[in-house]
């Protein structure tokens, strides 16, 4: 690349009295190019596995998150909670980091006796937010998913590949995409996104 890419990191959040402040993968690193890219810091994530046909599972998820199960490949949101369909027996619940222990305890109590699993994976993932009208264009450079307007819209969660690593993303607004990947590849994904969003790299097909 002709121009050096500068990635800035913001200061970590102030430590709480009870627990040390969570340290996210890239400490809130951000980049501004074709779109604005920001590592979202510490985000709460609970992975849920169970039988979607089981009433006990559905009502446990509903009582803990306030949300109904999303349809295939869908993502639903309300009151700071986001629930995404990951596979026929897997959901991802995204919520504020500090609320994870409480919600997890409620889930596990409600799921007692069910063949199901609820696990805190907050520190095993990294979350990015892409802001700008070319956000889908940046992702389309990295993924084989069909992201053309009309083929990918708000409400759909797409698990796919970004270059060589798995990732999942969904639109959180007309010009905003939220994305997560494994924490161990957060630096690699930030490198991908900053390269794909480098100024002058506009494709302009859409």
């Amino acid at each position: 690349m002709s121009e050096p890419v500068s990635i800035s990191a913001s200061a970590p959040a102030a430590a709480q009295a009870s627990a040390p402040a969570p340290v996210s993968a890239l400490n809130g690193a951000s980049f501004e190019g074709m779109v604005k890219i920001r590592e979202a810091g510490a985000c709460g994530m609970i992975t849920l596995r169970g039988n979607f046909a089981s009433e006990a599972f559905v009502s446990a998820v509903k009582s803990a998150s306030g949300l109904d199960l999303p349809g295939i490949r869908q993502v639903v949101r309300a009151d700071g909670m986001t629930l995404g369909w990951m596979s026929p027996d897997e959901l991802m619940l995204m919520l504020p980091y500090a609320e994870v222990p409480g919600v997890l305890a409620r889930l596990n109590a409600a799921l007692a006796g069910e063949h199901a699993l609820a696990v805190d994976v907050s520190d095993a993932r990294a979350v990015f937010v892409l802001t700008g009208t070319r956000a889908r264009e940046v992702l389309a450079k990295l993924s084989p998913a069909d992201l053309a307007p009309g083929h990918f819209a708000e409400g759909e969660l797409r698990r796919t590949r970004l270059a060589q690593v798995p990732a999942a993303f969904w639109m959180t607004g007309e010009a905003e995409v939220t994305l997560f990947c494994f924490r161990s590849v957060a630096g690699y994904v930030m490198g991908l996104l900053t390269t794909a969003a480098a100024p002058g790299g506009e494709v302009g097909a859409w």
Binding site: I72, S87, P88, R161, P166
Partner: protein, 107 residues
């Protein structure tokens, strides 16, 4: 480019989002089987020029294994279906027979 529709999540997945798993509908021979059966299970494959049933995994997507019927010569995809079955669905077999009258059939 090969595109297979994942029967679980409905994504029309491009090949690089998938992992190939070889021939489908193999009968497993394990402990207690004859040497010939075990060898056949491990090594003998149909490898046809034409209609082939295969295992694929939606590796970068929902993570599930599914099965696909396609032509190894033209890459035409006849269909995909969930892996929880011992043999191809009857409607898919009928569809392939209609398209390839010379096909000797599954088995």
């Amino acid at each position: 480019m090969l595109i297979l529709e994942c029967p679980y999540c409905g994504v029309k997945a491009e090949e690089s989002e998938l992992a190939a798993g070889g021939e489908a509908h193999l009968k497993r021979f394990g402990a207690g089987s004859t040497d010939e059966d075990f060898e056949g299970y491990l090594f003998a494959r149909k490898n046809p020029k034409g209609v082939h049933f295969e295992r694929w995994r939606h590796a970068y997507g929902c993570g599930k294994w599914f099965l696909a019927a396609r032509c190894t010569a033209t890459l035409e995809v006849f269909g995909t279906y969930p892996a929880q079955t011992a043999e191809p669905p009857a409607d898919l077999v009928a569809k392939i027979k209609q398209k390839r009258p010379e096909w000797e059939g599954y088995k």
